[in-house]
Symmetry: C2
């Protein structure tokens, strides 16, 4: 065997998307940036839920600098859908809405308590304001 073959660099692995789609991964592959070979589960999720062509179309709708965020949100949504095929990530939304309702209720009750104790404190202060007239200093 030619020694040049031994000296040639190890070919780079195809990105996770190209590997899944059984296609050649070129150096300018637009998916390789977001779906590296070392994280195959990321592409597997979005592929199952959105389909490869929709992922590519959605990325093309987005400016280059926002594509990483778009991929992150797609991976999150896809994982949520696979975890809960009925509700997907609306499950998280319902949970957060419930937390907000609980917090609003706690805040309302705490404000009511504050109002009550404020009124009680004002009352005590009014009573105390009357007291100096009974103070021995004044009675002298």
């Amino acid at each position: 065997m030619d020694s040049a073959v031994w000296a040639s660099p190890k070919p780079e692995l195809p990105c996770a998307a190209c590997r899944t789609l059984h296609r050649k991964c070129s150096r300018d592959c637009t998916l390789a940036l977001y779906f590296p070979a070392g994280e195959p589960e990321k592409f597997a999720s979005v592929h199952k839920v959105f389909g490869a062509s929709n992922v590519i179309k959605m990325l093309q709708m987005v400016d280059q600098e926002k594509r990483e965020d778009a991929v992150k949100s797609m991976v999150y949504e896809a994982n949520e859908r696979l975890r809960d095929p009925v509700h997907g990530c609306t499950n998280a939304i319902s949970y957060l809405q419930k937390c907000i309702q609980d917090l609003q209720l706690q805040l309302k009750r705490t404000r009511e308590q504050l109002q009550e104790i404020q009124e009680h404190s004002n009352h005590l202060l009014t009573v105390l304001m009357d007291v100096p007239y009974q103070n021995p200093v004044y009675q002298l």
Copy 2:
């Protein structure tokens, strides 16, 4: 024209999914229940974002009685993704998380106020507890 033609019932419209996919809509079409002819925008959204075959696959993963909820959540997610291709429905999640942080902060501050006014009120009460000894009734 044969009068029987005039007397025959008007054929039912194909469901929105079959119409979009240019296929015959049979009486037992599983998509017709969730994507009626009168609401074409529902299928259009999920078709654009998930693809028809993924929608069908995801519905097949779900029990019959939960499919309506699954369709609702898919339509919601698809509409959010079309409205905001970068964040999709994670936008709503971020917004709700922000609301929770704000409410937690308000609750913390209100509890601190409550604690302060409670201490103030206790102090006033302590002062008042000492007052009766100066009361004319007791001085008699």
